[in-house]
Symmetry: C2
Subunit: 332 residues, 2 copies
């Protein structure tokens, strides 16, 4: 049996080594690009590439190239999102644009994005000139288009008074789940997964990603600053249209509704005001609702894996299962 | 004989049709992404992809996918560069961040970059699952890494008192010539060009790109606003370390040197001050020096093409020759 924590530590170590080896000129740009990467991170996406890849017998060098690409791509989105959202902290350290200024932060993200595709494609062009390598690269590029669309929707929603749950789910699918779906797909396609299996892997990744984002929404209100690395109540402060806020606005009435509307998106109120809204959301049953939704997606993800039993390596299939549970239990 | 202007018009029309067909959600993001593309542009890079591709018998659909990718990538760099340089106008219209704000402009660039790789890779994954398709994609991703490095150097140079010509040439190779080199290489590799021929195509593209940037530097001081779409003297105003300014600082002495140092990088002086510097640069023989440099690179580019004679379609080889001449003669 592969232990989940040992596995994640193994992948993280591979990725950290791979990324630390990235060098270029000017050095200052590379430093800025890796600022957030060095501050930590779960390396969830690389772990998914590896788990799914090993389940289907993929080449280890191929997995390293693509897992590195996926993680760099993820870090690129964090750097640019922080500029767009004007966030000051990430992973407990000041964001890239706070340290290096906006122009360098934009460029750092652009460089990571470039590397995210250059590293896998360089691997493909020297080692594995197959259609599977092309398809893995295509899926990563597809995710990048989709994530940009998701971030645009997320920003648009901030200034919209009403956002439906359907719109919300489209947004988080694009913004968060697409890259997680791509990570799992890429592992499988670099291995021997066939089309029907790739569909199940994609579905697992999508469900996992949706659950992941809902848990993120919960942590954006109820997470502890020392665990998440982000200021507490940040989503309320920024008026983010998260599942909790959409649902709360939807079912609250009278004074309750007024309170939420008054506080949402106001950046400089006293802490008590935000905590009042957080308490209200819980009282309205919305926290519980969000938790059940996340658990529902995890159940769907597990169902996808069940359909893969007997078609791939059991040990790594079990790891994918374990990772689904971890997503709902995480506190950061 | 293929007429150069007819050829460029043909390519431009193909690219315009291809790009106009790009759709996605949210529509606002796609609108912002295509704002600068719609304002015009020479479509020089797609023309190079086509000319070199046809010279080596590449598939027309492959050329369209990659030429579109190269042009979208180029437009992405323009959008982000305009934010970093705080430029208000491009191609005679307000820049994306002036119209849509910085967050949407960042994201528009990210979307174009994503599409720039997704369109070629989608083509490869359905139509041409060959190592040549992988190599063309790799070269585009390589150019994207290199262009980011070049832009970083360009920004660093603005705050450096002394920049050598050697440093300047490294910067413009990365910032400008690498993508032009990639465009020519991509055409050839999508066709039947062999390694020695790809080297010559790359060298031609590199030389052409270096000449192109020097001419851009000349137009950045001596270009007419109604032709370039950019405010006159903009490079002096922004303190850009262009070949002209580096060389002028290098050879000017006494009052001349003081005048250049006083005016360079100051944004709000009277127009006469900038024109005084422009006149001085010409008087010092630096304008002539820059012109000769550009012509030297064009001569090298033509030499590369000479070595390709008999190895590919003569008509398109002649077009590549014509394009080299156009680069030094252009006024916008």
């Amino acid at each position: 049996m592969v232990d989940l924590n040992a596995f994640i530590a193994e992948v993280a170590s591979k990725i950290n080594n791979s990324v630390t080896g990235i060098k270029g000129t000017p050095q200052e740009l590379y430093e800025a690009s890796l600022h957030i990467f060095r501050a930590g991170g779960k390396r969830l996406r690389p772990a998914l590439v590896y788990a799914s890849g090993r389940a289907f017998g993929a080449d280890e060098d191929a997995l390293l190239a693509f897992a590195t690409g996926v993680e760099l791509f993820h870090n690129f989105t964090l750097i640019h999102d922080d500029i767009m959202d004007n966030d000051d902290y990430r992973r407990g350290v000041p964001t890239v644009h706070k340290v290096y200024g906006i122009p360098t932060a934009i460029l750092s993200g652009d460089l990571l994005f470039s590397l995210a595709l250059h590293i896998p494609l360089s691997y493909c062009s020297t080692k594995m000139k197959s259609s599977r390598c092309i398809d893995a690269s295509r899926k990563l590029a597809w995710a990048s288009v989709t994530v940009a669309e998701g971030q645009a929707l997320d920003m648009m929603f901030e200034s919209m008074k009403e956002v439906s749950e359907e719109q919300y789910f489209e947004m988080i699918y694009k913004k968060t789940a697409a890259l997680i779906e791509a990570s799992v797909y890429i592992g499988g396609v670099l291995g021997k997964a066939e089309e029907s299996e790739l569909k199940l892997l994609s579905s697992y990744g999508k469900n996992l990603g949706l659950a992941f984002q809902i848990v993120d929404d919960i942590l954006g209100i109820y997470g502890k600053e020392e665990e998440t690395g982000k200021p507490v109540y940040s989503d309320i402060r920024e008026g983010k249209k998260t599942l909790l806020i959409i649902k709360a606005l939807n079912i609250a009435t009278g004074e309750d509704k007024e309170l939420i509307e008054d506080v949402l998106g106001k950046k400089n109120l006293e802490k008590e005001k935000y905590s009042e809204v957080a308490d209200l959301i819980e009282k309205l049953g919305v926290l519980q609702y969000a938790k059940s939704k996340a658990e529902g997606f995890v159940a769907d993800a597990l169902e996808d894996l069940k359909n893969l039993e007997g078609k791939c390596d059991t040990e790594y299939l079990t790891l994918l299962k374990d990772m689904a549970y971890v997503v709902v239990k995480r506190r950061k």
